[in-house]
């Protein structure tokens, strides 16, 4: 990747990342985030991580961001009107973030942080090399990931589900109310 392209993409990524934080309307924040993710995907591809770059576009900018979009629509969020948050909080947040960035620069700067460069082997970043690594050295982690995703799906469904008793008649439902009272009056096991 030529350096000017890197500088252009990097500036664009920083501007759109700032847009995520600065925009008042959640939809605008989301669009800025999608643009940041796309630029990061292009940088991945520029770094010879082609498969991961495309996965980034498909999984992140495609699937996860659409999920965010649906939630914003579902909650019918509008732009925040009036002052948002304390001015002290904003100043503190900006200062803390700047301090963190400065600290990272010092740690990752050239004098302290040296990496011995290696030449990339042929086929680096291809699907074959990624799968070869994934299904040999990282096989256990890969299988555990499937359990994680299953747990996440079950958890998300359980969280977002409307409980029939509480939803149908509201809290005036005598059965639900008595159940709640019984639960509150029964001795609880601590710990």
């Amino acid at each position: 990747m030529p350096p000017f392209l890197y500088l252009f993409l990097g500036a664009l990524a920083i501007v759109s990342a700032l847009g995520v934080v600065i925009q008042r309307n959640p939809i605008h924040s989301l669009l800025a985030l999608i643009s940041t993710l796309m630029i990061i995907a292009i940088l991945f591809i520029g770094e010879d991580a082609v498969v991961v770059g495309f996965l980034q576009i498909i999984v992140y900018a495609g699937a996860i961001m659409v999920l965010f979009l649906f939630v914003i629509w579902l909650l019918n969020l509008q732009a925040e009107s009036g002052p948002t948050g304390h001015i002290v909080l904003k100043i503190f947040g900006s200062l803390a973030a700047s301090a963190l960035a400065a600290e990272l620069f010092v740690f990752l700067g050239a004098p302290h942080f040296k990496v011995k460069m290696y030449r990339e082997p042929p086929g680096y970043g291809s699907l074959e090399s990624l799968a070869g690594k994934l299904f040999t050295d990282y096989l256990v982690a890969f299988e555990v990931t499937s359990v994680l995703l299953l747990a996440a799906v079950v958890g998300a469904v359980a969280l977002a589900r409307r409980i029939p008793d509480a939803a149908g008649e509201g809290s005036s439902d005598p059965r639900a109310a008595s159940a709640i009272r019984a639960a509150e009056s029964s001795p609880r096991v601590q710990g």
Binding site: S29, L67, L75, L100, L104, E120, A151, G155
Partner: protein, 100 residues
């Protein structure tokens, strides 16, 4: 190839912007988006270091980070929906049940 320091600097800046977003913004959804921003900044550092070292491990780690981010987004958005259903708000300062 772009010098490693440049890539890591970009990663550090995006990470710091994500931290600022979590601290400054009070909308839970935007705080959540800032967390995604931080995850991606770390992914960028992984990819940059991996290609300099000529090893595929960085890319595999990024693959796992994406999976965990997907799981986190699903569960987190489920929590946000159920909080909104009960409290009619996504403003973090109004959720004070567990504040001492």
């Amino acid at each position: 190839m772009i010098p490693l320091t440049y890539m890591l600097s970009l990663s550090a800046i995006i990470f710091a912007i994500g931290v600022a977003g979590v601290i400054i913004r009070r909308n839970i959804l935007v705080m959540f988006m800032s967390i995604e921003l931080m995850l991606n900044a770390v992914n960028l550092a992984f990819i940059a270091l991996g290609s300099r070292l000529g090893s595929m491990d960085g890319q595999v780690i990024v693959f796992f980070v994406m999976t965990v981010a997907a799981a986190e987004a699903a569960v987190g958005l489920g929590i946000i929906i159920s909080v909104f259903r009960n409290r009619e708000t996504v403003h973090a300062d109004e959720l004070t049940l567990m504040r001492w």
